[in-house]
């Protein structure tokens, strides 16, 4: 009897994570529905202005979407090459004892609080970039994106390295036995074999970059800006949510609803990339 009771409690604990997901989706959808009663979906998706807090409020998500995708693209263009090369190096070039030291140190990059990264982007990286490009403003997407990229390097490198190291040794031996070099073995055998695991790493990194909040809030400015120029300031979806939350918005107002809509959009975006990753993995596994 006692055993059954304990098992029931443990089971409830295990389902809690499902309730969290359910709660997130439910609340986001619930608070967004009244918003769309007020703003047509077409205007929301195609509008080029996002000014929910102005007298003459406009609700076009494109500027926020643009800021989010731009900062994510910059972050990934840093994190994916750097993380993948570092992973290949750790997995195929270093001795085990050195790897045991380097990997945890690299993982510390992901342990630094994001607000500290925001400080670093605004007050270290931006001034540094201004030395190269004097016209650069104090707030810009570039420095925020670069710092975000460094921040997510460990997500790419750690999981990729795990995937590469789990490639069976006899496959690597087979490649070397045919006269392949280390580089050839990495690119022709190890990476294709580890690709599925590496995709998970990339997807996690993309999710992190899309959802990253503090770095962009601090260093990229908070003005919604429909631009592809990384030297300009811009707001991401997350930065907008922060901006509104810092103020005092009455529960139920259109401004309050707009952060839920923004959150829902962000979640949807993350979901899209996850589905894409899943599809890529499946497609690749079929090919095998």
């Amino acid at each position: 009897m006692k055993e059954r009771f304990i098992e029931a409690i443990l089971f409830l604990a295990a389902t809690s994570s499902v309730f969290v997901t359910f709660g997130i989706v439910w609340i986001l959808v619930k608070e967004s529905i009244p918003f769309f009663a007020h703003v047509p979906l077409g205007e929301f998706l195609t509008g080029t202005e996002w000014t929910p807090l102005f007298e003459n409020a406009r609700f076009g998500i494109l500027p926020l979407l643009c800021g989010t995708l731009l900062s994510t693209a910059i972050a990934l263009s840093v994190a994916i090459p750097l993380g993948t090369v570092a992973a290949a190096f750790l997995s195929e070039y270093t001795k085990p004892w050195l790897r045991e030291i380097l990997k945890p140190i690299l993982e510390l990059l992901a342990a630094v609080p994001t607000v500290v990264y925001g400080y670093f982007a605004l007050l270290f990286v931006t001034p540094l970039l201004q030395k190269i490009h004097p016209d650069l403003g104090g707030f810009n997407v570039l420095s925020a994106g670069l710092v975000m990229g460094m921040m997510i390097v460990p997500y790419v490198s750690s999981l990729s390295e795990d995937a590469m190291r789990s490639v069976p040794g006899h496959l690597k031996e087979g490649s070397f036995a045919l006269g392949a070099s280390r580089f050839q073995t990495i690119f022709r055998v190890v990476i294709p074999t580890a690709f599925s695991g590496m995709t998970s790493a990339y997807i996690l990194a993309i999710s992190r970059a899309l959802g990253e909040t503090m770095v962009v809030s601090i260093a990229a400015g908070m003005q919604p800006n429909l631009t592809a120029n990384p030297l300009e300031p811009a707001a991401t979806i997350t930065a907008f949510i922060v901006q509104v939350s810092m103020g005092d918005l009455p529960h139920g107002s259109i401004g309050y609803q707009s952060i839920y809509v923004a959150g829902l959009t962000l979640l949807f975006l993350t979901l899209c990339f996850n589905v894409l990753g899943l599809w890529l993995r499946q497609k690749y596994q079929e090919k095998e």
Partner: protein, 259 residues
């Protein structure tokens, strides 16, 4: 030890010792490898036969704390493949290897066989196609796979996979082919296939094979080396070694009294 002067030497192991960290695995081994002949390495497990085989293409270089002492000379130019200034890549380009467990890459059948050419930088499509077909034919696999070259190699049966690995090694025309217990992971029918194939390959290739199966050695090999605890006890033609062994340890082993 008998040396046969009527045959061309393809390679020569001279005073080869090998150690794994502090553990000595091979102890001053010397033996000839004759051209277009099959040489079998036999002995109880842990005797160093696989270690010796993996010296031929410097497989041990992939791991830390290994130490070679002595020479393996590749004839006719007598190049010592163990020399420090010889890159293992060169050795492995010249000496092919097939492993105990079939290890096809997770690529298509075609790409598996083409792999060795590709890593050498061969780009000419027609050349690669010819070579893939020829190697698959030599490995006796062509008729089974010719209609599904682009399909994944991992979908083949174990025996087919091993023949694919043989074709993969043949595609680059190695000077010596090393086989490390190539049938130990296979069922009896596939084993027969591979054994027939090995005998067939002798016409064009020089083969060194490690086996724990004495019948396999006596059936396929022209020469057999019996190893025990890192020492080469006896090297002779298979006929002599299996019928009139000179060393009592060889006799004990082949009559199944130990190991």
């Amino acid at each position: 030890m008998t040396t046969n002067t009527n045959l061309n030497l393809r390679a020569e192991v001279k005073d080869l010792s090998f150690s794994y960290g502090p553990k000595k695995v091979l102890n001053r081994v010397s033996m000839p490898i004759y051209e277009n002949r099959i040489t079998a390495l036999i002995g109880p497990s842990g005797c160093g036969k696989t270690t010796l085989l993996r010296c031929f293409n410097r497989m041990h270089d992939l791991y830390a704390a290994t130490n070679y002492d002595g020479e393996i000379l590749l004839h006719p130019e007598k190049r010592n493949v163990l020399a420090r200034d010889v890159d293992p890549m060169e050795v492995r380009m010249r000496i092919g290897m097939v492993f105990q467990k079939p290890n096809p890459f997770p690529k298509s059948i075609f790409e598996n066989v083409a792999y060795g050419l590709r890593v050498r930088g061969v780009r000419k499509r027609s050349f690669i196609e010819d070579r893939v077909e020829k190697s698959l034919q030599q490995a006796g696999l062509w008729s089974e796979v010719k209609d599904r070259l682009p399909s994944p190699a991992t979908a083949l049966s174990g025996g087919q996979q091993q023949r694919l690995c043989i074709a993969r090694a043949l595609a680059t025309e190695p000077e010596i082919l090393l086989l490390d217990e190539p049938t130990s992971a296979l069922d009896p029918i596939s084993t027969t296939h591979i054994e027939e194939l090995i005998t067939e390959l002798k016409k064009d290739w020089t083969i060194v094979i490690v086996t724990h199966n004495l019948h396999q050695a006596s059936r396929t090999a022209d020469y057999t080396a019996f190893m025990y605890l890192g020492d080469l006890i006896e090297f002779d033609t298979s006929d002599k070694l299996f019928t009139t062994p000179r060393d009592p340890r060889t006799e004990n082993y082949i009559t199944g009294r130990f190991g």
